[in-house]
């Protein structure tokens, strides 16, 4: 084909016209509006906030995400006696488990390994021990500690089981992280660009519609009704570990234990971790909270792109 000058100009003009049209279309739309849902997932107050030009579409997406959350609760919720995790804890094994359960157990073992056992998904016996109303005696503590062993989980697609009788897993944070990740990714997959998913852990999909990162307030561990600072979050997750959340009935401390000693960890007042995925952020923040300041850099280095803000008991702050 012989390209005349006229032809070439025509082609160029047409090629420019398309992007111009697209630009016009883009600017014809205003800023997207937020649609928010508040409810409960895995027993915790939860929220999903999506920005969309089409409110009805966002609402339909939320309905679909609730269906997905419900499905995952049937796997991970300790509040549902028939959930896979409840059955695993009761019977020590689950045949034909869901891929989700295998995946989360597998991931939690990896992180346990990387954190040198400071994060351990089989911590539930310690929690059961401490939720009794009196302080545990030493013998019970040792018995419970012997049941905390992430290497004794065998997670395969045919069967998930504990290799030791009496073990039980609490995937609390990490399962919430997984659900947060699933929902965020499904929404991204549906073409949503801006959303904040708070299903036990916080994850930002994209950034705020104005192009800046989302700002998530971080509570002051000493004054928990005050926001201490804001963390910028864009396409990443934030997980906060602190002892103030749930104190123990026996009065010996709070709900985050050192899997190696069985005692509540107390070296840090609060750890906030930003990581690409909520499941990782949760595991990292728990592990650092337990392992303390010195191990924090090493633990963080296991996940690319992770950073942390540590608050010491005296209120001083350290960015890692």
């Amino acid at each position: 084909m012989n390209l005349t000058r006229r032809r070439a100009l025509q082609i160029m003009a047409a090629s420019v016209a398309v992007p111009l049209g697209v630009l016009a279309l883009r600017s014809a739309r205003g800023l997207p509006q937020p649609v928010q849902w508040r409810g409960e997932a895995l027993g915790a107050m939860s929220a999903m906030t999506l920005w969309s030009h089409d409110k009805a579409r966002a609402e339909r997406a939320i309905v679909r995400m609730r269906a997905e959350i419900d499905r995952l609760e049937d796997i991970f919720s300790l509040y549902r006696a028939t959930s896979e995790l409840s059955r695993l804890n009761a019977d020590g094994r689950v045949d034909a488990p869901s891929r989700d359960l295998v995946h989360v157990l597998d991931q939690s073992q990896r992180i346990a390994e990387a954190s040198g056992g400071k994060f351990d998904p089989t911590i539930q016996p310690l929690w059961t021990l401490h939720s009794a109303r009196s302080a545990p005696d030493l013998r019970n503590l040792e018995a419970a500690l012997s049941l905390v062993d992430y290497t004794a989980i065998s997670a395969h697609i045919q069967t998930v089981r504990f290799e030791q009788a009496g073990m039980s897993a609490s995937l609390n944070g990490i399962a919430q992280g997984y659900i947060t990740d699933r929902v965020t990714e499904l929404l991204g997959n549906e073409g949503f660009e801006n959303a904040v998913i708070e299903l036990g852990e916080t994850r930002a999909l994209g950034q705020a519609p104005d192009g800046t990162p989302f700002r998530v307030g971080l509570l002051n561990p000493h004054e928990p009704n005050q926001v201490m600072e804001h963390v910028s979050l864009a396409g990443a997750s934030l997980s906060v570990s602190g002892g103030y959340g749930q104190s123990l009935p026996d009065g010996t401390g709070h709900h985050i234990f050192d899997p190696l000693t069985g005692k509540s960890a107390n070296e840090l007042a609060q750890v906030a971790v930003v990581a690409p995925r909520a499941m990782l952020a949760d595991a990292l923040s728990t592990a650092i909270y337990v392992a303390g300041e010195r191990a924090s850099a090493a633990i963080l280095s296991t996940v690319a792109g992770a950073s942390a803000i540590l608050i010491r008991p005296d209120g001083s702050r350290l960015q890692v």
Binding site: M1, Q10, I11, A14, S15, V18, V22, L25, R26, A28, R29, P32, P34, V35, W37, R38, G39, E40, G43, A44, M45, T49, D54, A56, R57, E59, V63, R64, A67, E68, D70, R71, R99, R133, Q176, N189, E190, G191, E193, V196, G200, T202, F214, V216, G217, L218, L219, P224, N225, V227, L238, V240, G242, Y244, G245, Q246, S247, L248, P249, H255
Partner: protein
């Protein structure tokens, strides 16, 4: 059935014992907690109930007053002088431990019918404090929403949402505590009834006049005038005789005003007869005794007569019978509970009857005519059909709708538009010969539909079918995704079904060529490009055959990644520019926008290049296209040899030089059919036309009609 626990009136005390048992247990078990919370200074309820808290938990209440009884601690909430409900504290009522040893304290209000009016959280040691107004408000919304059954959708406020990360609180324990506390507070002080199946309403009562009862259907009435009497007698063939009870006045004068109804609901039985006769039916008879209420409100006649007093007559109340199904009930004097001073009775049904109050029944009112010989002839004066109105039936709480129903209800309008559009499309495809014969009509309807697909289906309703949906459907058996996950997108569901059916009938072209918004966008741009005479380039036949496989490659890539590397699959799905160009209106990150724009620009010179060579969804449909049952596109023997007109007219080059249409590449645009029917352009047809014209001019000549030509 109905389970009533009127605690201090009568009936089984099981419920009360249960409540007390739970209470005692709770208090015992929580003894240490009580000590702790008392330490932490939770004062009496009224001191914690500041005006601020009260207005949050029970708006529209003017006054609260502690209830002085032995029940769960609560304050009665009054609006003026009427008792609206109760205010209570979960700490007092349940001493509920959450995760934490410190029992949280939620103050909440409950109305008399068990609706939570509001809840405020007062924590002692935990991070939620009343002076944190924003989060208290969030929690209130949350508790409200859950009390309504299901957290509803929607933005709480017009303010930009704020996010705070920190300790998660156990909403579950709190919600349960609020609900259980409300139930305990109410159960002690009100009747509680649980309806599990439609049940006659024995609970609600308010004074009602006979007229009101007739108006709402609680009783059925018949006003019978002298004229009606004459008519009834004539009907019975007794028109010549006189009634036993003589009428007075003219034809419009009242003979009897009779009413009847099911006596057991207090609104009917008690209003109809008064407290005493009604109480006799309900409490003075064996359990579950049923009665029929009958009354004469005026006229010279009445439903009783006098003969029911006579032993000789077996005390039979001969003027009334009640019929349900095959059973007819008659009553005698001992069956009557009479109302002193009124002609109103409750007729007690036999205890071993099969009478079902939920089913309709009929009451017949009889009268006698006097024969000349002094004997009497019985006839039906009036038949009253009766059915217990729904207002007298308690229905069990309806099962909450599954969440996916909401979008279907909310988008009824959109569903209607889509269904109309699909009907139009079905019509066009079914009548494609008619459509193709008129070039202008085809142009207008075809482009009109494409514009609709792009602007409405795509940009307005965001109903772009995509490979993501196909992947979800394929994954469903493995992922165990909830059905609601699929059903929550009504338009996508409808489009998927239509596409599947059309795929089996006609092939992939129906979706790709008519219902895909991105396809429509490309085709409309291409039409403009062609109108502007921009150069068009298409690969040669051999190269095109190779390029066609591109879409199967991208489909295969996505399908493999979905199962081996789901994260990468999400990236691979971005081969589709649909999200960018349609659902997000190009408001996306720059690389996506550049990609989509590039595809559109290529489309200007090579029509639907993306659809033909790259689209994974098109690939999936094209594979399944092999199954299609019908082929409506017309061909002639000359197609391909020697004629190549259609081949060149096909914008996507789906017609090979042999003249064969490759259906898996055809978009059902019907352009080739327009040529096929064009007797100016289609050479075989033009030849026939010319022969015919010549025949008209020069007389008949042998004509060969090409095969395939419709008569």
């Amino acid at each position: 059935m109905i389970a009533i626990a009127e605690n201090r009136v009568r009936g089984p005390r099981l419920a009360l014992l249960l409540v007390l048992g739970v209470l005692a247990f709770t208090i015992l078990a929580m003894a240490p907690a009580r000590a702790q919370s008392d330490e932490s200074g939770a004062g009496p309820l009224l001191t914690r109930l500041t005006p601020e808290v009260l207005s949050a938990v029970f708006p529209e209440v003017t006054r609260v007053e502690m209830v002085e009884d032995d029940g769960p601690i609560a304050a009665a909430a009054y609006d003026g002088e009427t008792l609206s409900g109760y205010v209570y504290s979960t700490l007092d009522v349940l001493r509920a431990p959450g995760y934490s040893s410190t029992p949280f304290d939620v103050i909440a209000g409950v109305t008399m019918d068990g609706r939570i009016t509001g809840a405020v959280v007062l924590f002692h040691r935990e991070p939620y404090l009343i002076n944190d107004a924003r989060r208290t408000a969030q929690l209130n919304t949350f508790l409200h929403a859950l009390e309504g059954g299901e957290a509803r959708l929607g933005a709480d406020s017009t303010l930009p949402p704020e996010f705070v990360a920190g300790a998660t609180i156990s909403s579950r324990a709190m919600r349960n505590a609020v609900q259980e506390g409300g139930r305990m507070v109410l159960r002690y002080r009100t009747e509680e009834f649980i309806v599990t199946e439609p049940t006659v309403d024995m609970i609600n009562f308010r004074p009602m006049s006979a007229a009101e009862l007739v108006a709402d259907g609680g009783v059925a009435g018949a006003r019978i005038t002298n004229a009606d009497l004459d008519a009834a007698m004539a009907q019975a063939g007794l028109g010549d005789l006189l009634p036993e009870v003589p009428k007075t006045g003219g034809p419009d004068n009242l003979y009897i005003n009779f009413v009847t109804g099911y006596a057991n609901p207090p609104r009917i039985g008690r209003n109809g007869t008064g407290l005493e006769p009604y109480d006799h039916l309900i409490n003075g008879m064996p359990e579950s005794t049923q009665g029929i209420f009958v009354a004469t409100l005026g006229g010279v006649y009445d439903h009783r007569g006098t003969r029911y007093n006579n032993l000789s007559n077996d005390f039979l109340l001969e003027r009334i019978s009640v019929t349900q199904g095959e059973h007819t009930y008659q009553f005698t004097k001992p069956d009557m509970i009479v109302t002193p001073g009124k002609i109103a009775d409750i007729l007690v049904l036999p205890t071993d009857n099969e009478f079902d109050p939920m089913q309709p029944w009929r009451a017949d009112l009889y009268a006698n005519a006097l024969r000349p010989d002094g004997s009497t002839a019985n006839f039906v004066l009036a038949s009253l059909d009766y059915a217990l109105p729904s207002g007298y039936i308690l229905m069990p709480e309806p099962e909450p709708m599954p969440a996916w129903v909401e979008p279907w209800l909310a988008s009824q309008g959109d569903i209607a538009i889509l269904l109309i559009a699909l009907s139009v499309l079905t019509f066009l495809l079914a009548n494609q010969a008619w459509l193709s014969r008129n070039r202008r009509l085809h142009l207008i309807l075809r482009n009109g539909f494409l514009a609709f697909t792009l602007v409405w289906i795509g940009w307005t309703a965001s109903a772009q079918l995509s490979i993501v949906h196909v992947v979800n459907y394929i994954k469903a058996p493995f992922a165990g995704l909830d059905l609601g996950f699929y059903l929550a997108e009504p338009l996508i569901v409808i489009l998927s079904i239509y596409t599947a059916v059309s795929l089996v009938l006609l092939g992939r072209g129906v979706f790709c060529g008519w219902l895909c918004p991105f396809g429509a966008l490309q085709e409309l741009l291409a039409q403009i490009s062609r109108a502007l005479k921009l150069p068009q380039w298409n690969p040669g036949e051999r190269l095109q055959r190779i390029l066609w496989n591109g879409k199967y490659v991208s489909l295969g890539l996505i399908l493999i990644l979905v199962f081996v590397a789901p994260d990468a699959a999400v990236v691979a799905e971005e081969i589709e520019p649909f999200k960018t160009a349609i659902t997000a209106y190009f408001v996306r990150a720059l690389p996506y926008v550049i990609y989509a724009v590039a595809l559109l620009t290529i489309g200007l010179f090579t029509e639907r290049a993306f659809c033909r060579f790259l689209c994974p969804l098109g690939g999936a449909l094209a594979i399944l296209d092999r199954l299609h049952l019908l082929n409506l596109l017309k061909r002639r023997p000359e197609c391909g040899n020697p004629c190549h007109l259609c081949e060149r007219s096909c914008p996507v080059r789906a017609i090979e030089s042999s003249g064969k249409i490759i259906m898996s590449e055809c978009f059902q645009c019907l352009d080739c059919q327009v040529e096929y029917y064009d007797d100016q352009r289609c050479p075989p047809l033009a030849k026939v036309r010319k022969q015919l014209e010549r025949a008209k001019e020069f007389g008949p000549a042998p004509v060969r009609v090409p095969a395939g030509e419709p008569a």
